[in-house]
């Protein structure tokens, strides 16, 4: 039986020291496995669900919360991953006061380059996944083209990709 407050603090701590949706995984994994509150399979399944469920991938923690502590665990996990990103409100207030300084603006322009690089690495990571073959690359190009036209809604593009995947791989 888990202690809800401790579970909440474990997820909160891991998320406070993470960047993005999945980097809190090692810390949560270490803490929960040590307490025998979750198994390795729970983690694998939670991450798989996070990838196919709606919302950010980081919601995998909500699945883990359910496997660990039922609906209460899921709710606590959701709150614990929602609070740390709110630090951005403090950062943006500080930035507003400093943004006219040339070095701060230069630093922000540098970060803009990092953003493009990071999104490109995500593209690379997605397209290098084991299940993605040459047909998958054609699907990726098709999705890119359709999204570029702006005439097809994103959800329709993903639905078409799901249908194509069903017929190609089933």
């Amino acid at each position: 039986m888990i202690t809800p407050v401790i579970f909440f603090l474990v997820v909160l701590k891991a998320t406070l020291f993470s960047s993005g949706g999945l980097t809190n995984l090692p810390s949560i994994r270490q803490d929960l496995l040590a307490r025998h509150w979750a198994t390795g399979t729970d983690f694998t399944q939670a991450i798989a669900i996070g990838q196919v469920s709606p919302g950010p991938n980081g919601l995998w923690v909500v699945s883990l919360g359910y496997f660990t502590g039922g609906y209460l665990g899921a709710a606590l996990a959701l709150v614990a991953i929602t609070l740390p990103p709110l630090v951005v409100l403090v950062i943006s207030t500080q930035y507003t006061q400093l943004e006219h300084h040339p070095r701060v603006r230069g630093a922000m322009r540098g970060v803009s380059h990092a953003v493009v690089a990071l999104v490109l690495t995500v593209v690379w990571t997605i397209l290098r996944q084991p299940g993605v073959d040459s047909r998958g690359l054609v699907l990726a190009a098709g999705a890119f083209g359709l999204a570029l036209t702006r005439r097809v809604h994103v959800i329709i593009i993903l639905a078409l990709a799901a249908i194509a995947g069903y017929f190609l791989y089933h």
Partner: protein, 211 residues
């Protein structure tokens, strides 16, 4: 509340009259529920909703919001939702944006966990997911190009060498993460340091918003 636009000299009573709290909740709930396949679809939906449809932010401002979200811990899109919510409706805008974005999608995620054993092995689910994954890669490429636009525009205004420097920096950052397994946090910190030194002189050219 959302009087962040004082720089532009606009201090309206209700800057986005069409975006009531309920409408804001609906928009974010729609974005949360529709964004299967992770951040790619979400980011594109957020861009199209708040830049193109409601003109809450310019592309430049959105890029800045995204940059700041990288400096906060946890899921970047939550930080983006909080900032956009604040801009539209102040503190309540933050609450409503986060509730809309996370409650419906979180509830569905939780239900999927509850029903996992039943649907995971259902015929065709795995094949459909195998189709969705590369499609999100294609959508993410479009997101990358969108973020690239303001970067290149500022670089072009600063001269040809700046464009080359920008391209080099992006390529080096991408390769560092993919090939050398550099951590994203280290990349952001390094890019900020390089920018503070190398881009400080041309910094005055930023700021003018482009819709």
């Amino acid at each position: 509340m959302a009087i962040e636009r004082t720089r532009a000299g606009i201090v309206p009573e209700a800057p986005y009259p069409q975006l009531t709290l309920w409408r804001l909740f609906q928009l974010w709930a729609g974005i949360g529920i529709q964004s299967f396949g992770g951040g790619a679809a979400t980011t594109l939906l957020v861009q199209r909703t708040f830049i193109e449809r409601y003109h809450v932010v310019t592309l430049d401002e959105f890029a800045q919001i995204w940059n700041l979200s990288l400096l906060a811990p946890g899921i970047n899109l939550i930080a983006v939702a909080a900032q956009l919510g604040k801009r539209v409706q102040g503190t309540w805008g933050i609450v409503v944006a986060l509730a809309g974005f996370l409650l419906p999608s979180g509830a569905i995620t939780c239900l999927m966990a509850a029903l996992f054993d039943r649907f995971a092995h259902a015929a065709g689910v795995e094949a459909a997911v195998r189709g969705i994954v590369p499609a999100t890669g294609g959508i993410m490429l479009l997101v990358a190009l969108t973020f690239l636009q303001p970067v290149l525009r500022v670089s072009r205004a600063s001269g040809r060498w700046n464009v080359l420097a920008s391209g080099g920096l992006i390529a080096a950052g991408t390769i560092a993460v993919i090939a050398l397994q550099a951590s994203p946090v280290a990349l952001v910190a390094a890019a900020a340091a390089i920018g503070a030194v190398g881009f400080a002189r041309g910094a005055h050219e930023q700021g003018a918003g482009h819709r």
